[in-house]
């Protein structure tokens, strides 16, 4: 399949990917709980979130991490090109029970170029995810293959 590996032109160190704004509501948390099988009540119950000292219901770290990767999968066009993806869960995304939820801004920059084991070009992409002015993922990085 042909996927647009470089929608904005040639890929260089410093290339910025098109940014992404993600809105997470309580419904999104419930949907992710069902899809992932992670029914930890801190992701849907104020009662349990308060019991463990959280300021409110928080998004699954894996939901934040998985959603943030869209900035990369949208760019490379094919999720099969993602070779590695890592992140620290530095701060939970608190999702209020209202109509707007939480907003996460995701930006990404190419920080290195390389060659894969099969000789194709690869890019290391550094990802930032920010909610309420605070970074919610730390050292988030994905390595992708640029050639199909």
């Amino acid at each position: 399949m042909s996927a647009p590996a470089q929608p904005g032109g040639p890929v260089e160190v410093g290339t910025e990917l098109p940014p992404l704004t993600v809105r997470l509501t309580r419904t999104d948390l419930v949907r992710y709980a069902g899809a992932s099988g992670d029914f930890n009540p801190i992701h849907h119950s104020e009662h349990f979130a308060a019991q463990v000292g959280l300021p409110g219901v928080v998004a699954h770290g894996m939901l934040t991490m998985g959603t943030a990767l869209r900035v990369v999968t949208d760019w490379v066009g094919d999720p099969a090109r993602v070779r590695t993806y890592a992140a620290r869960f530095t701060r939970p995304v608190v999702v209020p029970d209202d109509a707007t939820g939480a907003e996460v801004l995701v930006t990404a920059t190419v920080t290195a170029l390389g060659t894969s084991a099969t000789g194709g070009r690869t890019a290391t992409v550094s990802i930032e995810a920010v909610c309420d002015g605070q970074k919610v993922l730390g050292a988030a990085r994905a390595e992708v293959e640029l050639d199909g």
């Binding site: 899809a35 894996m62 939901l63 959603t67 999720p79």
Partner: protein, 141 residues
């Protein structure tokens, strides 16, 4: 009995085979807001972080290990890394094997590094999921 460095190297039996379905891939992609055609239909590939869904039963088995003395409500996922040899696809039957790679205890918490290796039932390596969990001690919770 609390978790200690003596548990480094402990490995658990493979989880029961998880059969990846096209419907589950589509459901998971939708939950991440991934709308692309690559995630839909019989030739669908899973979003990279779907590996966590297959790894989760292996994590749970470690959390439930009575010898480690862990309490689920005091465990926080600290970081996560995926290395994928290829994407998961509908029809894959995948087993997860967890080994404890690292245990550090500091004031109030244990830091646990767990490596999960994902292989198909035909013994093809699909990838690994490396996680760090923080387990806070009772007094600190």
């Amino acid at each position: 009995m609390p978790i200690t460095q003596a548990h480094v190297g402990r490995q658990y039996p493979p989880t029961p085979a998880y059969e990846v379905s096209a419907a589950k891939i589509a459901e998971f992609a939708t939950a991440l807001g991934e709308t692309g055609d690559r995630y839909r239909g019989q030739d669908a590939v899973a979003p990279p972080t779907f590996a966590a869904v297959v790894a989760a039963p292996a994590w749970q088995a470690m959390f439930d290990d009575p010898e480690l003395g862990l309490a689920l409500h005091r465990i926080v996922h600290g970081d996560q890394r995926f290395e994928l040899a290829r994407p998961l696809r509908a029809g894959d039957r995948v087993q997860a094997v967890l080994s404890i790679e690292k245990v550090r205890s500091r004031a109030g918490a244990d830091i646990i590094g767990a490596l999960v290796t994902l292989r198909t039932t035909e013994d093809e390596l699909v990838g690994t999921a490396t996680a760090t969990f923080f387990h806070s001690h009772e007094a600190a919770a």
